[in-house]
Symmetry: C2
């Protein structure tokens, strides 16, 4: 039986693989003169954030104020970019408190966000660094033209307590040239307006090996690369051997020759498909389809399922980031050696 000391279902993190992933991308970016600012959404662990900083990262990225609070709770992390429009007195007051404890920067794509930030930082000893979020094609948040980016940069720079420091984008996949052109135009416009663009923050694991193809970027934000997953393997970004996260499960029922049921469902593997068929890759059994999930059951199908009740399997999920958010703790391993559980400190931090 594999990992008999660990009850199932459990999320396993192979630290050897995670560390190799961290180092490989750091070397890649260092070679191209690009700074790395890992997004902690994937691991949610101060331990691995510190490992990323040791490898050469310049700071971390969080999406929410509560994530940043959780990540700096242990010390050792002192540069955090929150890539989110932060709104509302509750969050702004926590952001201000956080700024007394760590070097912070945030993003904004609208006046209301900037007005709120200025209201809470007008009397701060240091101005808050604010980047303009730019929609370079992904159609999520962000100003939609370089001209808007220039106007918002000016708006930030005129506001008490704030300092305009650059541009940030969550780019569309595979459109490096368009992203480069968008950002170059915006930078030129802003410089014409007399402002300096110190930081241009690009990111995304799907485009990680083309990070250097947006040479105007000064830093790259990246999350999933630390663990990798089935969606990145399917895109050719990594191999199965580079996948640090797997879900350890037990076969609890074998009702038919072509079907077995495991003790992990959407409450661990999640329903994220990311365009794939099935809900994960069964290590060593590529013939098996993880066909259907209910909350606590996963239905496996294969022409000849050839599994016994009590058998253990490891499944590489479609999407690693959302899986770590389902569990209060992960089990660290190195190869076949179990090293113990670690709490997922920034799990469920949505505020």
């Amino acid at each position: 039986m594999i990992f008999p000391e660990i009850d199932t279902p459990a999320v396993l993190i192979d630290l050897d693989i995670a560390e190799a992933n961290i180092d490989r991308f750091q070397v890649h970016c260092s070679k191209h003169g690009l700074a790395v600012r890992p997004h902690i959404k994937t691991h949610k662990l101060p331990m691995l954030a510190k490992r990323q900083l040791q490898a050469g990262a310049i700071g971390i990225t969080c999406q929410k104020v509560s994530e940043a609070e959780a990540m700096i709770s242990e010390g050792g992390i002192d540069d955090v970019l929150i890539t989110y429009n932060i709104l509302g007195d509750a969050k702004l007051s926590r952001l201000r408190a956080l700024s007394e404890r760590t070097r912070l920067s945030v993003v904004a794509d609208n006046h209301e966000t900037i007005n709120g930030l200025s209201r809470f930082f007008a009397d701060a000893s240091e101005p808050l660094s604010v980047l303009v979020e730019c929609d370079t094609g992904a159609a999520r948040c962000g100003v939609t033209s370089p001209e808007q980016a220039r106007a918002l940069a000016r708006y930030i720079s005129d506001k008490p307590g704030l300092s305009f420091c650059g541009l940030m984008t969550y780019p569309p996949v595979g459109q490096e040239d368009a992203v480069q052109n968008w950002l170059r135009t915006a930078k030129a416009e802003i410089e014409k307006a007399g402002l300096t663009v110190d930081v241009i923050s690009n990111g995304g694991s799907p485009g990680m090996w083309q990070a250097q193809d947006v040479p105007i970027a000064t830093e790259y934000r990246i999350g999933t690369y630390v663990y990798n997953d089935r969606s990145l393997q399917a895109r050719g970004i990594c191999t199965w051997d580079d996948c640090a996260l797997s879900v350890l499960v037990t076969v609890i029922s074998v009702p038919a020759n072509d079907r077995a049921v495991i003790d992990a469902g959407s409450k661990v593997l999640t329903s994220d498909l990311l365009g794939l068929e099935g809900h994960g890759h069964v290590m060593g059994r590529p013939d098996i389809l993880v066909d259907g999930l209910s909350e606590e059951h996963g239905v496996l199908r294969a022409e000849n399922i050839n599994l016994k009740i009590g058998d253990r399997l490891r499944i590489i999920p479609n999407h690693a980031c959302v899986v770590t958010n389902m569990v209060d703790q992960i089990e660290t391993i190195r190869g076949n050696r179990a090293l113990g559980a670690v709490p997922v400190v920034a799990r469920g931090k949505v505020l």
Copy 2:
């Protein structure tokens, strides 16, 4: 602003609606002489489990041992059915400890599960009640023929520490006649073998108003009905006014006339589609499609989005059960009155 005292995103539970949902189905089943055994997977709250028992439920259903432990932690719940093949010494030892604190029953669809249960209960003062899980068409767990059900009932009844007490099925939707026939045949087979079938446990919110169409069932397990959700509304099982759970969100970006972004993504609403288009129903704005989710962003689309940054919305998710599993606490409300946060005691209990 709606619920200004609650920071977003937040999961709101309207207790007036939840209580009405509990009472309405209890009345329906009582009229038909059917016992109700609510599945706590939807609310995960001892508070609402006790309210279900007060309304007339005979006990509760849990899927995992750790859920049962969490639910009885406060007292006041003393009859728990765990509808799962429980395997492995760690879980069996906890199950045995639990049996000293509450009236327990479990299910099994195979010899290995039964052997494990017997090993841990052979020296118990009371035998453990075991139901045979039957696959009446849903193709998840369960023996696949009435003959297998009879053989497994015999196997249980011959095992030290165990007592065969009946049949349990998670039925296919809309096939009440087939389910009734399957269970009637199995019951007759088992009685021919000299055993008594005390309990026949059927369930499922999609078939709740047809529960009486499987008259051989003695009890009905039901989870989602307490909150309802978009998937049940789409099936005509409930109206929007019967939906007790909504997600309170804030508009954080309005990049275009036809698009806005909210501060809730798959980390709250989840990726469960259940066959629907979009990720939820925006209350009061049926023209809006909750089009895409990333972990912390939701993209809303409408011909004329007509939303301002800072606006608050309430979204009824596709699947209520998985949403309560994402958050450490829910916010209780009655109508427009906020009553305070309650910890989701049985959240993330997958063992």
